[in-house]
Structure formats: C-alpha cells, structure tokens
Symmetry: C2
Subunit: 369 residues, 2 copies
C-alpha cells in the first residue's frame, strides 16, 4: 500500500482515504450543491452533516427526490453489525436518518446483523452478537425514534421474514460477484458468502423506493443489491454515504468497536471519556506550547476538532471560531480537548438516560415476522 | 465419461453405477451380513430392502446400534427436494424410515427443501417449490406416519429454527469445501453455496444421535456435516444409503421428478401407469417372442423386474419365481409388465386415498418454530 493508497471494504478500512478518488473507485456520485439545496428545500431546513460534507456521496438520491415530489414516499433503512458496544461513530448515520425521517415523514427500518458478525469474527458466538444487537438497539432508540414508524430487525430473530426475500437475491448472485465486490477467497466461509443477500433483504421489505444512509464502507453490499434489483422486478435502492469516522488515534482507518482505546463508547462514563480524549485523541498541535503559539495547530488532522465538526458542534459559527483559534495557535490542544470532552459528556449524559428508558420500550420497536 | 464411468452428486446422476466402486469413491462402508443380522435382531424382524441390498451402504450405523443397545435412542431424519410431484422412487427411503421408526420407536424429522430446489432450478419460483413441498408432504404422511413422533420441516417455513443451527455449520465450511464436495464453480449462486448448511441443520435439532436413510446421491451433503459436527461440539450424523431407483427408461441415471415420461408419479391414474409402463419401461427381454422363449430375458436390466425387487414385491418367493420365469423365457416382457402394473395400481389406489386424507392431518405434522 503506497503512501496515498487506501482500502475501503465492509470489513476493512485502512489508509488515508481520498474521498474524491473513492467516489470514482466505487462509481458513486458526489453530492453537489444543487442536490444539497434540493434536499434542504424539500426538508424545510438544512443539516450540518450535509453542509459540511459528512454525507458526501450518493446513488440515485435524485430519483428518490423526484418520486417524493410526485407524492411517492420512500422509506429509510440502515443498520449496524453488532460486534460490540455502540461507539459515537455509529451514531452519525442514525442521527442523520432520524432527521430525514422527521423531515420527510417516512418509515424507518434498522437492521442488526448478528449473523454477519458471527460469520466474520472468529471469536464471537451467535449468543454474543445477539446480546450486542439488543444493546445496540438501545442506542438507536435513545436517539428519539418512534415505534409507530420505526422497526428494528435482528437477523436471527427476523430470518423468517428476511430469508424468502434474501433467497430471491441470492439466486442472482454468484461466487464471482462476491469475489469481485468483497474480495472473498476460497477460504471464505459460506455463511459470509451468503450473508450479503440478507443485508439486501430489508431493501425490499416495503413496495416503495428505499433510501439508505450509511457509512461508505458498506456501499459494496448495495452495489450487488442494485445489480440484482431489476432482475427480480424491484427498484434499485438509493444510498447516501457518510465519510468514515476517524478513530481517536487519527486519520487512516475508522473508529472500531473492537479496539477499546481508539473508541468512545456510548456507555463510557465522564471520567473514561476525559481519559480517552486526553490520552489518546490524535492531536494536530505542535510538540510544545511555545511552538504551538507561534505556528498554530492543524484542525484538518486533529481528531478532537474533527469530532466537533462531524457530530458534536452543529453551530457553524462556534465551529469556525474553534477552527480559527486552533489554527492560529490561540487555542491549545488541551483547551480544544476540554471543549470536546464537555460536549461529549453533555451528549452522553442525556443519551445514557434515554438508553436506560429504551429498555422498557424496545419490544414496541422489534419487527414482528 | 468412459463405458463404466458414472457420476453421482446431489444434482446429477449419470451412467451405470458400480456401487462397490461408489462405496470406495465416497468412503462409505458396505452393509455386511453381520451388520444386517444385527439390525434384524434389534428390530425383531428383517426388511426386504436390507436383505436385497436396496440399502447397501452406511456411515456409523454401528455406533447408532451400539448406543441403542446401551439405551440411548437415536432419531431419524430424511427429506426431499420439492421440484415436482412425488414419484415412486422417492418412497423407497421413506418406507424404510417408517419401518425403522416403528421397530426402534424413535422420532422422525422430514425436511422439504423448497429453497434448495428454487436455487438449483432456473425456472422454478419459490412459490412453486413451496407448493410442491406441501404436495410432497401428503405422500409422506400417506405412508402412515404419526404426528406424535413425526415432524415435517419446510425450509422457508421453519427457517426461524433452522437458520441459527445452520449458521454454526456455515461458519465452519468454506467455498473450497463446497467445490471439493459438490463441484461448485465461481458461477454457482450464493444461495446454493450456503444451502448445504441448511440440509445439515436438522441433524442437530435434537441432542441425540441421528440416523439418516437416504439416496446415496445425497451423501456429499452429510460428508460436510460429519466433518463439521465435532468442530461445533456435536455428534456426527450416521447414514444408511439406498441405491438410485432407475428411471423407466432403464439403468443409468435415477428416476427424475422433472422428466414426465421416465417417472411414475404417486398421483398417476391406473391408465397412465399402464401406459407409462407398457410404453416406456425398459425391457430386458428379446426383440421377439420366439427369441425370448428360446434365450430368455435379463431381469438385471429389466426395469419392471427391478421395480418389483426394489419396492413392489416384498415376498422373496414370489419375486424368485418371476425372476426365474423371466430369465428362462417362460414369462414374456408383456406378462412381467402386467404384474408390475397391477402391483403399482393396487399400491397407488390405497396411497391416493391416504394422500387425500392427509390433507386434513397435515397441520398436525408441521414443525412449529
């Protein structure tokens, strides 16, 4: 892997990602200003994640909007592979999906792929991934979804509904296709090989167009789904992609639920958050205060600044002030980290309360076969 | 494929099968006289399908008997791929399984693999294979099984139970394994690739040893299951194999539900049976009566005789008389066919009555997730 190379697959993200290159590599479309303005107009307001390019790419978003303007509603679908507790990176597409749901008044399906994580992680049992699925569901519900228009699908619990749909998809995908798209080899287990058809299934759970907000690393699954859709008489799913959320240890790779010190979990205490950010958050600052005051920091690579930009500081003016102060050297890395720690802990205080309340509500959200 | 070559896979049977060679090729064990006598002693009587070598091969049948003698019961499992109506060849392992169930007083699971036939047959929809599954279930029930100790599994209806078990198996099988055992290629669809793990699942549905009576062409599936079983802390399934039932058009290949004129369906009318046997049943007789009287017929290749031997004439003395008369030329092909037509029609008269009665009982047999 040369200096500017990177790898993005559903199971591996490495290197410093050049998102313009990735758009070309994946064959997706950049979200232009025109498209952004159209979403904003239909939604009645804009969203900082669109404005700031956190959601940067799409497939067929225009078609979704065309149909919506004609009065044909879409539905939303996203999900999570439950290999551990939820971290703050996972919340990005969920929060954005919630905003879309509220503004466009549409149904939402959230898939927890306990089987996938069992197939892909040598050391995880199906009992463990299912346990994490229920834990992750609490985080999703805590963001304020309503059971009236939001259903949670857990693969092993809802296989009765998913499998007949997945079978239609699976018949149209061969091993070569999965090799080309996921890089599977002869050593890949047959659960993993079949699995992509189960991630396709919720796309066809309603007879409407679907829009999927998701991390761009998951795009390959739906590339296959989009190829298959017309062959089984269905509409191609539309996608809107967010960038990878960097790990605490900096750009290159994404935040991973399985590496504890690179990750802020939604269940972390204020003390743990403080410690992780202080100790591990990759800094764009200078080696000492004197040099920092003189030369300034680099917010583009500073993880604390990036977390504010991506999630924790929706106010553009406040963010710009932090950016400029850090860049000029007026703000020290320690001060920037203090701001982020406070923002995260304020968010998590409310989130953790809602998360506990979600335990009593979860049954209302579970999809019934 | 040279003269004495043959191919036996779950989806393709061709050539004149040398069963001794097949035992070596598959790595199974021949049912010896000792083993046959042991089954007979434990069962309290013998069965003509064992005596005549219709069931000719096994894996771990000795272990099943050892455990049974210690008081540890096994359970039975067999099945059918519902690609069409049931033909009389399908009944062979079912009738034998019923005998085993009665004599050993054990539970029985019958799997109808509607998904497999959907994956493997380009022109069949899942609705069609499921419809055939329910039709095939009637034939199974018609043989006299009791709902108290017999459950029918339909893959797409019982996937909620099967999938978590299949997932354990699927994680331990890679694409190479399926290539080696089934001859899959890069063009094989991913439903087909995954499917073998679903045929494995019923092996582990009870925490007891399982014995599977089945056509020897299905052995490859359970070769994989047997490799996986110890890796997931389970007992290896034991198998008892029957020979392939020849098509009407003669030795080489098996009776196929998808080729109408080579097959007697359980739903055929007496007239249709008469016509099919008279017109299509491959004859071991001579070209004309004079030559037949002089040289005699060859019962070894005569399909009508073989059907009597395999299924329709359990009485050894009666069968021997037919054999000798045909071989000597005393019995003409037309006379032999008359005997078979009457036997089949007598059998089907009762079977078809029971089949209709089964419609009211089927619900009691369906496995509940």
């Amino acid at each position: 892997m040369s200096a500017d190379d990177f790898i993005v697959t559903p199971w591996r993200v490495e290197g410093k990602i050049d998102y313009d290159k990735l758009i070309k590599q994946f064959g997706t479309e950049k979200i232009t200003n025109d498209l952004l303005n159209r979403v904003t107009k239909l939604a009645g307001e804009d969203h900082f994640m669109l404005r700031r390019g956190i959601f940067f790419s799409h497939r067929d978003l225009k078609t979704i909007l065309d149909e919506y303007e004609k009065g044909n509603k879409f539905f939303l679908y996203t999900g999570r592979g439950p290999s551990g507790h939820t971290h703050i990176g996972h919340l990005v597409p969920w929060v954005f999906a919630k905003w879309l749901q509220d503004k466009f008044n549409v149904n939402m399906y959230f898939q927890l792929t306990d089987d996938e994580k069992f197939y892909s992680k040598q050391d995880l049992s199906l009992e463990e991934t299912k346990k994490f699925a229920y834990e992750n569901a609490l985080d999703f519900i805590a963001l304020g979804f309503k059971p009236e228009n939001t259903k949670i699908i857990i693969d092993t619990e809802n296989i009765q509904t998913l499998y007949p749909i997945a079978a239609q998809v699976a018949k149209k995908i061969n091993f070569s296709n999965t090799k080309a798209v996921f890089g599977f080899t002869n050593d890949t287990n047959i659960g993993m090989i079949f699995y992509t058809s189960l991630q396709s299934a919720p796309c066809f759970i309603e007879d409407k167009p679907v829009l999927i907000p998701l991390g761009v690393d998951q795009d390959p699954h739906f590339r296959l789904t989009r190829d298959v859709a017309p062959k089984i008489g269905k509409l191609k799913p539309a996608l809107i992609h967010n960038i990878m959320i960097p790990s605490l240890q900096g750009p290159g790779g994404k935040m991973s639920a399985s590496e504890e010190n690179t990750t802020i979990y939604t269940t972390d205490s204020p003390e743990v958050v403080k410690k992780k950010i202080s100790k591990y958050a990759f800094s764009g600052g200078q080696p000492d205060v004197e040099q920092h005051r003189k030369e300034g920091g680099n917010p583009d690579i500073d993880v604390s600044y990036q977390y504010l930009r991506i999630f924790f500081e929706p106010d553009d003016n406040a963010l710009k002030k932090i950016h400029d102060d850090y860049k000029s050297g007026k703000m020290l890395t320690g001060e920037l980290k203090e701001i982020l720690i406070e923002k995260i802990n304020n968010f998590l205080k409310i989130h953790q309360e809602n998360r506990e309340k979600a335990r009593d509500k979860i049954d209302k959200f579970l999809f019934e076969n």
